[in-house]
Amino acid sequence: MVIAIGFEGSANKIGIGLVQDGKVLSNCRRTYITPPGEGFLPKETAQHHRKVVLTVLKEALEQSGIEIKDIDVVCYTKGPGMGAPLSTVAIVARTVAQLWNKPLLGVNHCIGHIEMGRLITGAKNPTVLYVSGGNTQVIAYARKRYRIFGETIDIAVGNCLDRFARVLKLSNDPSPGYNIEQAAKKGQKYLSLPYCVKGMDVSFSGILSYMEQHTEKLLKEGYTPEDLCYSLQETIFAMLVETTERALAHCGSNEVLIVGGVGCNERLQEMMGTMCKERDAKLFATDERFCIDNGVMIAHAGWEMFKSGTRMRWEDTFITQRFRTDEVETTWRDD
């Protein structure tokens, strides 16, 4: 029996959670929400995390009903992400690890998403679409690593959506992506937009520039903000489904798992589901509790590492803004 606590704070969410052998004991989270038209900046985000981290920690411990002495390992997000928020949370994790005299493990954020997705959905060896504010990757497991088959060659899909929400001055509460999704449901007129797929890679910067330049004009021409949200979603999600399908065909796999914040978009899930049905594959997806950044995913991935014997020297428990998914050897997978 191994109990792990996980600290996540690589972007505008701070989450702490506990997990015991695949069973979620607690999953607490706060989100730093900025005014409409604004994104979150490192400094303010870190300040937000500093303000709430101890409250969230207390909450997570209380809800789990676990005593500190029973915790086996402390896990935190080592990267990738924004430097200031990452270090804020890492400092807390390092401190409690020393206070409680527990081993400390730095976890790759992307691996956290993948392992959590596998745990919750039961997917065995899926082709993974990881979509969030900072990442867009098509990943599959091979030879002891999560290999990146496709990714964005410029900005992430969530970043593209967030920045378009700013153009329309949509609210950031609960998240810009959620508000685009709701608006898109009311969209009717489809506008043809730049579509950019390069093999298994995608590019979103062209489509974002197009939207930034043309939105004002399009609104005057009779397109509603809802039409634009709808057209943008339909176009960029089609790109994601297409590249995922290409990776699926290339690997000969028959499972798809969607993880990351954008992964809880129901339209994306629906489109992916249709694609899967057309080729007898199975789709796995989770809801906002586990799709969006959280502490449990870090705890669970750390738990996998810990169980398979991974230990970190104190001087290796730093943070790094750039930390690719394929840098981690998956010591816990033997297939």
Partner: protein, 231 residues
């Protein structure tokens, strides 16, 4: 389609094998993708059929082996083309040969072909080891000796025939990434692909073009590595 049997559902299309005017042929049907809106689907399918046909014709003129085009039926969204007998994918080939001299020689030869492609301003757009075929010259299914097979390129749906230097750089980067995720011998292969690529440009005395493409490739690569990844 009478007389045609389904052999594979790729990402782009369904592939059927049958007879076309007495020749063994592949029929590639880009069926409607229900997940995307109809307008987008129609637009993409049209673009890709055109891109594929154009690239195949241009490849022929440039002396690059591809399946011969028989007919493009825009209404039914089907391309009929030559079925390359006695072939295997580079993916299966490299998985069986690994880090060996034949993989090295194959990679150099492949680099040659890609340089020939790019020097004719064609980019493939989706280079993976599944889209590269080895075709035996003597009508037997044997691939032990490099001299006995040709290399063919297939699946030109994302191709462009008026490619910029940037497109060529991206084309190389896409291939590198696809190899890295698929093959243990990827780094070894790509090194020799670049060697063959450079050698071809040297042989046609266009080293300045090679340098431009290579710089772009390094540029695109750095963009990938330096990109911040938040959230």
């Amino acid at each position: 389609m009478e007389g045609f049997t389904l052999v594979k559902q790729g990402a782009e299309a369904r592939l059927f094998i049958g007879d076309y005017l007495g020749k063994r042929a592949i029929a590639k049907e880009r069926f409607e993708k229900k997940y995307r809106v109809r307008a987008l689907d129609t637009q993409l399918t049209k673009e890709r059929i055109k891109a594929e046909c154009r690239a195949i014709v241009k490849c022929k003129a440039a002396g690059i082996l591809t399946p011969t085009l028989y007919l493009a039926d825009m209404k039914r969204k089907i391309i009929f083309m030559e079925y390359l007998e006695h072939s295997m994918t580079a993916k299966d080939f490299v998985e069986s040969t690994g880090l060996s001299d034949i993989t090295k020689d194959f990679s150099i030869k492949l680099g040659n072909i890609l340089a020939r492609l790019h020097s004719n301003n064609i980019v493939h757009g989706d280079l993976t080891s599944s889209n590269i075929l080895l075709v035996n010259k003597n009508n037997i299914s044997a691939f032990e000796v490099l001299e006995n097979f040709n290399i063919a390129l297939i699946d030109f749906g994302l191709a462009s025939t008026d490619a910029s230097t940037e497109d060529k750089g991206v084309d190389l980067y896409v291939l590198e990434r696809a190899l890295l995720s698929t093959h243990e011998a990827a780094e070894f292969m790509f090194l020799h692909i670049l060697e063959g690529y450079k050698a071809y440009y040297a042989s046609i005395k266009k080293m300045h073009n090679y340098k431009e493409v290579f710089l772009k490739y390094e540029d695109v690569r750095a963009r990938g590595r330096k990109r911040t990844m938040i959230g």
